[in-house]
Homo-oligomer: 241 residues x 2
DNA sequence: CAGTGGTCTAGACCACTTT
DNA sequence: AAGTGGTCTAGACCACTGA
């Protein structure tokens, strides 16, 4: 709850972002590192740290010998794939005001695939949490999460509306540290197509992912299905260094 | 002892990668930054730079106060989405030894979408380069590239087998700087399905992307289709900082 | 050529985790 | 308390770009 004062680097980042948004650099050129350092009263190292992180975020581009420039393309990226964490936030980033409904919350025996990924024996119990995210009654994202039964108590539907990483932390105390995600093309069928409000056979992207806690133990298996017409993933690809 | 050319930072990176692969850190724990700096005879800043980049690549994880650790999950990532540049390399990373065939190389009038993206008038000529990447006669990736007609001479089929960024550089002198890519689910139909050797209606992922040169001018529109059973994209997602 | 970002050093103190 | 990574400084030289 205590707001720790942002680091100098972070303050420089916000400062630069603000100026970019404000249109302080109409030609897209950002002042030289030494100049910024002098103006802001910090060391060039700190400025460079901030610029590195902004470059990593896709906000600016640096060209040796030439200068640092605002990256117009980066402003088009609404969701950076590697930082997706809560679908509610993703939808908000897209300008939506999402609602969440818990479609399913029950225990069932794990199938062989899920058991293997989560390090369980086949037939061990998993808790299934199925959620639908809507914008104005229009379904956009459907997620199916499976958690080892031993890592959950007897949650109420209301509890399950929280982002899954928070739900998991509340139930088990385990912190979700990272996901390993496969991007998989699917054709939506049957009930799943109906839930998302599309015709059977509609092609869609599914993220199939395994979540690990801070000690690299698998704690979550999830699949997410998207309405491609309402939610599109975009990324920048640059030549590797 | 250590020489120039690859930067010190890069040498430290390769050194650490080698030791990781060699199994020098059986418990997954990497020596402290100060220790590495002393051992290698470089400053801690250089070591930190190397570790930052390895962390960014997903090779290691750093935990404040605890240490730096090998990231087992990162070793499973064969293709980092944000660094895809040549599909031949992507396939090689997957352990394949790909071959390339140029299926199509001809000029045609641009449709409205392509014209708009490339900043052309509808009907202006674009050069279409369609390539198929195979592993052992098995088709894996199909790419369709469109370049403004003014940016290409009269290339031969042989020229078009090179990676598209090199082809573009050879033809026009323009350097491809980055791509803006949409990840789109499609159902493969007709000729395209046949070319990739799958049943009509098979769901697939398509990368729809626009390539820009170093001066942010659009120079390339491309779409790529994948055999999901042969080429899978995987990524790590971590909590944003 | 002057000016830019890229690399590197040596050292200081802080925030956090583990013992 | 000891040890780790995180932040920050001040300064040096190099590699590259552009006029």
């Amino acid at each position: 709850m205590i707001a720790r004062s942002p680091s100098l680097t972070e303050q420089v980042m916000t400062h630069l972002k603000d100026r970019i948004v404000r249109g302080d650099f109409p030609d897209g050129r950002i002042p030289a590192e030494t100049e910024l350092a002098a103006d802001l009263g910090v060391s060039r190292t700190t400025v460079r740290d901030a610029l590195s992180r902004l470059e990593h975020e896709g906000v600016v581009v640096r060209k040796q010998g030439a200068g640092t420039f605002v990256n117009a393309a980066g402003l088009q990226i609404t969701s950076r794939l590697e930082e997706i964490w809560s679908y509610e936030d993703v939808l908000r980033d897209h300008g939506y005001t999402p609602s969440v409904e818990v479609l399913r919350l029950e225990r069932e025996p794990a199938g062989p695939d899920v058991a293997s990924v989560l390090g369980l024996a086949e037939g061990d119990e998993v808790l299934v949490v199925e959620k639908l995210f809507r914008e104005n009654d229009e379904p956009v994202v459907l997620t199916v999460n499976m958690i080892p039964g031993t890592l959950a108590g007897s949650p109420k539907r209301r509890d399950a509306r929280a982002p899954i990483y928070r739900f998991l932390a509340d139930q088990s105390g385990r912190q979700l540290a990272y996901y390993l995600s496969d991007i998989v093309p699917v054709a939506l069928q049957g009930e799943r197509a109906a839930t998302l409000g599309v015709a059977p056979g509609t092609p869609a992207i599914s993220f199939e992912e395994t979540g690990y806690d801070t000690e690299d133990r698998p704690v979550l298996r999830a699949a997410s299905f998207f309405r491609d017409d309402l939610l599109r993933f975009r990324l920048i690809r640059r030549k590797a260094v």
